[in-house]
């Protein structure tokens, strides 16, 4: 299907739809559910009519809709962690009402134990393979260095692997690091991490929630194979000016929010910066006289988030989101060697929400995202720089139409203009005698149209089906690709407390991350589909059962999945990935398949809440002989580094008292595959100057590191309010409480006689990254 044809279909749908909607006769109640005090929208909140046994759930934008016969009703609006609200309603016309719920329990509003989405809602929804977390939940759990990180918390969910201890990388159901669609208020984020993945770019003060889709992808999402990480920023306080922040072990945060104009809009700005460099500079200064001391490079990161919303009128509202973050790494020696390495994301989106009527909503978003890194190196009078970047401008429009309680239609289109700077190199000398450079750039346009419907024929059955048509083009004749992406899901309620669900999704991915490290790094570059690099494609089927137990206090879910993918990308041995105008020639193509079982038990009410997740999974990849090579591992299938056979996570939050909560998480996972040299040989070189052993790596990932297990413990103490600081807490965390030496990597070391410097033997050494790390964070709000 060509893009032009697909867009034509989309426009046709847009043209015909409004005519269809006015033909409906039933009265509809619609609006938003928000938190009182700060105006925060509450996705997952329910608006119910107990007398009829009917209800609706607020969507990711906090919008709900309920169509009822005319009459008088009592409505109950509820959301976990908030006080329920009861209202009388006289429904004699289509109405729009916004409900505001008051947070239960505490002043900070941060220690909502149960999180978002009730277990009942999880049971009822067609959508499977999704995990939702709020920043409030993430803030409760113990964190590395006390730095709350919503992406790391997602790693505690079944089906999600990390890229290494303490890192934020997500590997979902056998997918690679570049196969996650990470969105911040509908704008793509290319590199969602700081410090090679130790911290995510999402400041917990600015984030409201994140939805992770592992399968059963709704049709509005596309462009990546394995997951959607949909992060929503919280809006500012619409009622009053407020300041919140935190002082932690390695960073501090500050957020300012308030109304722009009472009843019209609100703003939020939040920033944070690490101060690790302050300590390392001091250490370097104190050790300056020690000839054995290697100075620690300077490193810090900072980021800013901003969000504003403003009502233009009763039916129109604008939302502006911005993110700006940088990592700064530098080393400057006194002998003329300077090294600087900077990287960061810039994200901006402007969304216009228009309500045609109580059944028809339109959201149009213009967004920009950019990521770049630059390394500059200087020795005496010679300088050298290397850089890469990617920039996208995206326009998307989503139309929601809910004609009645049985259907929820959604239509949309998106168009993105990509600019890829895959490698810019510049080398020179101060006197100009050395001066050369290279800059390789590509562009591409990616577009899609989609339509979907959630159909509820009766209480037993519920379906969600959709079709997405996507396409991509880049420079060069014939560089046009596209395909249809059908999506389908169904739910059948066996009993009132038992549902079975199934889903299918096909996904295309048109831009690819060029990395040979197996983990996502700042220096990785994005590359478009072109010529010999065809779009990646995957399909996934999943089936599961959800069982509400213990009078609704527990939800037991079991899901099985099978995913198969074509045109997976890897690279030749010794591939030249940087500043290579002929990068296409370095790619290898293969297939991948993954399957597994995810068991999940969740408890959201009571003094003790939390979850237990267990995943049994296999991930395989296979790259046959091609392009003058024997493929990878001679064409045999192998396990990528993110394959883990067993994965267990146990998370518990216990209310010791009204002001004290004990939290903990325990993880166990099988060892990750790794590549170790199996043999060595002696190499002398031309003049004997590089003599020594050379490792031989005949196959990839033939060995596994030791299993990982770790216990983290936390304590959240709500402090008594004072006149100046009405809400504050101290959060204590102990990361890796029993000081387990989990493997980060293994290397072989040669042993030498200290006197003769002769090699006396070899041994294997395991390196761990994090010992037991206690931390304390002070959070405040006024």
């Amino acid at each position: 299907m060509t893009l032009r044809f697909a867009f034509g279909l989309f426009l046709l749908a847009f043209t015909l739809l409004p005519a269809a909607c006015f033909a409906q006769a039933r009265y509809t109640l619609s609006g938003l559910v928000k938190a009182a005090g700060n105006g925060e929208i509450l996705p997952g909140a329910t608006v119910a009519v107990p007398a009829l046994g009917l209800g609706a759930t607020a969507d990711e934008k906090g919008a709900y809709q309920l169509t009822l016969p005319a009459g008088r009703y009592q409505l109950v609006v509820s959301f976990i962690g908030y006080q329920s609200l009861s209202r009388d309603l006289n429904l004699n016309r289509n109405q729009r009402q916004t409900f505001q719920l008051t947070a239960a329990g505490n002043e900070l509003g941060e220690v909502v134990v149960e999180g978002s989405g009730t277990l009942e809602q999880k049971l009822q929804t067609t959508q499977m393979s999704v995990e939702r977390l709020t920043a409030k939940e993430a803030k409760l759990l113990p964190a590395l260095f006390g730095e709350v990180d919503i992406l790391k918390t997602l790693q505690l969910k079944p089906g999600v692997q990390n890229g290494g201890e303490g890192t934020t990388g997500l590997f979902v159901r056998g997918g690679a690091a570049d196969q996650n669609l990470v969105l911040l208020d509908d704008a793509l984020v290319y590199n969602p991490s700081h410090l090679f993945g130790l911290f995510s770019v999402f400041n917990s003060d600015a984030v409201q929630s994140v939805d992770l889709y592992k399968g059963g992808f709704p049709a509005q999402y596309g462009g990546r194979l394995s997951s959607v990480v949909d992060v929503k920023m919280r809006p500012g306080n619409a009622e009053k000016i407020g300041v919140s922040g935190g002082i932690g072990l390695i960073s501090s945060r500050l957020a300012l929010e308030g109304p722009i104009k009472k009843g019209k809009g609100a703003f939020l700005v939040a920033g944070r910066r690490t101060y690790f460099d302050v300590f390392t500079r001091q250490i370097n200064r104190l050790s300056a006289d020690d000839p054995e001391f290697d100075p620690i490079p300077d490193y810090y990161f900072y980021d800013f988030n901003a969000k504003a919303n403003y009502k233009l009128g009763p039916k129109d509202e604008l939302f502006l989101t911005g993110y700006y973050g940088n990592d700064v790494f530098g080393f400057n020696s006194q002998n003329g060697f300077n090294f600087d390495f900077n990287w960061g994301n810039r994200v901006a989106s402007l969304r216009w929400n228009h309500v045609y009527n109580s059944r028809l909503f339109l959201n149009t978003t213009l967004s920009y995202t950019g990521y770049k890194y630059e390394i500059t190196n200087r020795i005496d009078q010679f300088s050298f720089s290397l850089a890469s970047d990617i920039q996208d401008f995206t326009l998307r429009s989503d139309l929601d139409y809910r004609p009645n309680d049985q259907h929820e239609f959604r239509f949309g289109a998106t168009l993105t203009n990509h600019r890829f700077g895959t490698g810019r190199l510049q080398a020179g000398s101060d006197d100009g005698r050395i001066n050369f450079g290279s800059d390789t750039r590509y562009s591409g346009q990616e577009g899609a149209v989609y339509a979907s419907d959630v159909y509820k024929p009766n209480d037993k059955w519920q379906f969600e089906y959709g079709l997405r048509a996507s396409g991509f083009q880049s420079e060069g004749a014939g560089n046009r690709y596209g395909g249809l992406e059908p999506r389908a899901a169904a739910r059948y309620a066996i009993k009132s407390n038992v549902s079975v669900k199934a889903s299918y999704a096909l996904m295309y991915q048109y831009v690819h991350l060029v990395t040979n490290s197996g983990a996502s790094l700042p220096t990785d570059i994005w590359y478009p589909s072109r010529e010999s690099v065809l779009p990646q494609r995957s399909q996934q089927v999943a089936a599961g059962v959800s069982w509400l137990l213990g009078n609704g206090r527990y939800l037991l879910t079991n899901e099985v999945y099978y995913k198969w993918a074509q045109r997976q990308i890897d690279f030749k041995d010794g591939a030249q990935l940087f500043v290579n105008p002929d990068l296409d020639s370095e790619f290898l193509f293969g297939k991948g398949w993954a399957y597994g079982n995810e068991l999940y038990l969740e408890k959201k009410q009571g003094r003790l809440t939390g979850w237990i997740g267990y995943t049994l999974a296999w991930t395989n990849r296979q790259f046959p002989a091609q392009r003058g090579t024997a493929g990878i591992n001679n064409g045999n299938s192998f396990f990528p580094i993110y394959d883990r056979r067993h994965n267990l996570s146990v998370v518990g939050i216990y209310n010791l008292s009204e002001r004290l909560k004990l939290t903990s998480s325990f993880v166990f996972s099988s060892g990750q595959p790794t590549t170790l040299p199996q043999a060595r040989f002696l190499f002398q070189d031309v003049f004997g100057e590089n003599g020594g052993p050379v490792p031989v790596y005949p196959q990839r990932n033939t060995t596994r590191l030791a299993p990982v297990n770790r216990l983290d413990i936390g304590l959240v103490w709500q402090m008594k309010p004072t006149r100046w600081i009405p809400a504050a807490d101290l959060t204590f965390s102990i990361y890796n409480a029993y000081n387990r030496r989990n493997p980060f990597f293994v290397f072989f070391e040669q042993l030498e006689d200290p006197e003769t410097e002769e090699i006396t033997g070899f041994r294997a050494r395991q390196v761990s990254l994090f010992p037991v790390i206690p931390s304390v964070t002070y959070n405040f709000k006024f």
Partner: protein, 288 residues
């Protein structure tokens, strides 16, 4: 510029980040961070031993080469030298010469060798040589090598810094011109006083980004007045360059968690190693 140079820089950046992360962990963990490394037992698959050949033919030199065997990584460090080996060198005119097994050390370089020929060679650019190594276990390693053209060094200059006389140091600038044909690879070694010592600087280059242009390479300020500086410019064929890159990559991968371990790209078949004809130009200057 050869990409391995860039990769090395990126590796440095990654290693620096790792060091920062470890320091971060160390600071936060205090004393508990001691012992973040430990010895472990690793069971590695047993690979059959492969013949390893290292052979460089050089103008005016009697051919010498080394034949060893690959061994299990954690085995004893003693080199394994197979003795029942037959080495045959085929010269450009088709004549064959058997190199005899006579282990020894090259006095010029201090390198060990296992086999030696009978007379010096006079290879010319474009001439092709062949090598065959067989043993009594049925293993057979073959390779062929063509001598690349000699690329002359145009100039070697030095430039002193502005520091006080006792701290004065010079950098070395080396210039040469790349031929118009693509796919040329270079290796520059800069030794002080003698080539038997480790080089002061070493560069690996290719002409992918500046084919046919003049190359200028500069060292940092590191040479003292009256130092004797020996600059050697090797012109490599692609196979030899790939082999050197793969050796470097394999060594870097051991101990670097961000590196993708890669196999050795040998210039020979049936075993591991390199067989090549050296083509180089050399200049010796005294920095004054």
């Amino acid at each position: 510029m050869r990409i391995t140079g860039i990769s090395r820089m990126l590796d440095s950046a990654r290693a620096g980040l790792l060091a920062t992360g470890l320091a971060l962990a160390g600071l936060a963990g205090g004393l508990a961070s001691c012992g973040l490394q430990k010895d472990i037992d690793v069971v590695l698959p047993v690979l059959p031993a492969q013949l390893v050949v290292e052979a460089y033919l050089e103008d005016g030199q009697v051919p010498r080469l080394t034949v060893t065997e690959s061994v299990a990584y954690l085995s004893a460090p003693t080199p394994t030298i197979p003795t029942e080996i037959t080495v045959t060198l085929t010269l450009p005119d088709g004549s064959r010469e058997n190199l005899r097994f006579a282990p020894g050390f090259d006095r010029g370089t201090g390198k060990a060798y296992t086999h030696i020929g009978t007379r010096p060679l006079s290879p010319q650019p474009g001439q092709r040589f062949q090598l065959e190594v067989t043993d009594n276990k049925g293993r057979r390693v073959t390779g062929s090598a063509t001598m690349p053209a000699r690329i002359p060094i145009d100039t070697v200059e030095w430039q002193f810094n502005d520091r006080e006389p006792e701290f004065r140091e010079a950098l070395i600038l080396t210039r040469f011109r790349d031929p118009a044909t693509p796919l040329n690879f270079y290796r520059i070694m800069i030794h002080k006083d003698s080539i038997t010592d480790d080089p002061e600087s070493e560069f690996a280059l290719e002409d992918r980004l500046n084919n046919g242009e003049e190359f200028t390479l500069g060292t940092s300020f590191r040479f003292r007045p009256n130092d004797t500086v020996v600059v050697t410019l090797f012109h490599l064929d692609q196979a030899y360059n790939n082999f050197l890159e793969s050796v470097e990559d394999a060594r870097n991968a051991n101990g670097n968690p961000f590196s993708q371990p890669a196999g050795i790209r040998s210039t020979v078949e049936g075993g591991i190693g390199v067989f090549t004809v050296l083509s180089y130009d050399r200049r010796t200057v005294i920095v004054r």
